[in-house]
Amino acid sequence: MNSQPNFWFRYASPQAFYGLAGRLWPGFAVIATLLGAWGLWLGLFVAPVDFQQGQAYRIIFVHVPASWMSMVIYLAMAFWALLGLTFNTRLSGMMSRALAPTGALFAFLSLWTGALWGKPMWGAWWVWDARLTSELILFFLYLGFIGLTSAIEEPRRSDKAGALLALVGAINVPIIYFSVRWWNTLHQGASVSVTQGSSMAQTMLSAMLLMALSFWMYAIAVALYRVRTLILERERHTHWVTELLSAKETAA
């Protein structure tokens, strides 16, 4: 019981986290690859054709996982933001910054695949469906975070400003989603959904979940890898980094 708080605080130091992240990311990458392969196998070679949407429905095997991940990553960013503002830790800001580009990527992919799904199904590259519109807004929230943290040069201010923005965004996401749904139903817009009414075949659901998990593991791997680079940059004046750089120099 006594050792548990010490465990967490130990890894709150950038130096310790650098090592931990270095050991962990390859594992996540491997799991991501295996789950992705399995998910793709189920989704492309086992799951049957959809009655209403034909083979085009298979886009959900990337569209839905990308959507989910864009939201999960934003929540993770908000979590690190809260942690950083509460405990004033350097690492929290770095983790948020490490996660943001991947989150933005998934938001973009969600929009891209959504458009490619919408075109054959509903005849238009963009339908102002509540979920796609909310996804677009989420994409802007990511861009705003990346823009703000890039524009502020002083690292501590940049971290804190980004954290506050991420939190304000996170609190607003439900409000934004609710208002967009209200707007959409009022104007009787289209609704992009997988199967209207009928339940999804078991293999379809499994494939989707596997791909979602794969994307999640991928996101963690990339974020851990990215945060290591950020740590090196931020902590470049510390003894352990100068030692590490010298060691790499002699090894090279």
Binding site: A151, F178, S179
Partner: protein, 221 residues
């Protein structure tokens, strides 16, 4: 006189001496509202339909443009730092600044709206709903926007960045604000939309000055 009233009077007096800042927001609103019919075509049926959206977006953009000036002048001459260091509650001072800002850049939009609405042949009661929605909505936009203005204080490219930050957060206000007028025109009644706007305004009034104060401390420390 307490520091809050003093700040309010000071802000209002300063702005009225620099009238062109106040007028820019109003002028922008007029320009946007006048350009859309030119761009879309004079068909009255179409214009009546899209009027709530256009007028609301125009007011929203005008409000967003004015945000950059909320803290900029005080930041430049050091008054802002004095405010952060003073014994008065920063949250209170921020709330006063936002109020002054709204009185100068938001309220005029509410008063201008009926005039512009005439260009779109909106009925008198639709105009009343529009004014009510803007009366509730523009302070909401000022409050939400103030956090963005504080976060981007002194940052290069702040104006564009501020727009990007604040745009997603403005969506709910726009949906319910323009939606109120549209619902009224459709015969469904605007009370639901206006109630939601009022609720959002109250929540924002309670929390955003504090969040803005936090952002100012982050920006100035």
């Amino acid at each position: 006189m307490n520091p809050y009233m003093a700040l309010l009077r000071r802000d209002l007096a300063l702005a009225l001496r620099r009238k062109n800042e106040v007028l820019t927001a109003m002028f922008f609103f007029v320009v946007v509202a006048s350009l859309f019919p030119v761009g879309i075509g004079p068909e009255m049926g179409t214009l009546r339909l899209i009027a709530p959206g256009i007028l609301w977006v125009g007011a929203l953009l005008a409000s967003m443009l004015a945000l950059g000036r909320l803290f900029a002048a005080d930041h430049q001459d050091g008054t802002l730092e004095q405010m952060v260091l003073s014994r008065a509650s920063l949250t209170g001072l921020v709330a006063v600044k936002i109020l002054a800002h709204w009185l100068l850049t938001g309220l005029p939009l509410v008063l201008l709206a009926p005039v512009l609405a005439l260009q779109f042949d909106l009925s008198r009661d639709a105009i009343a709903v529009l004014m009510a929605s803007l009366l509730l909505g523009t302070p909401l936009l000022s409050l939400i926007g103030s956090v963005g203005a504080a976060l981007t204080l002194g940052v290069r490219g702040a104006d564009v960045l501020l727009s990007l930050l604040v745009l997603p957060l403005y969506i709910p206000a726009l949906v319910f604000g323009a939606g109120a007028v549209q619902a009224h025109t459709a015969g469904l009644g605007a009370s639901a939309h206006l109630s939601i706007l009022l609720a959002m305004l109250l929540v924002a009034a309670l929390f955003t000055p504090w969040a803005c104060a936090v952002a100012l401390r982050i920006a100035l420390e």
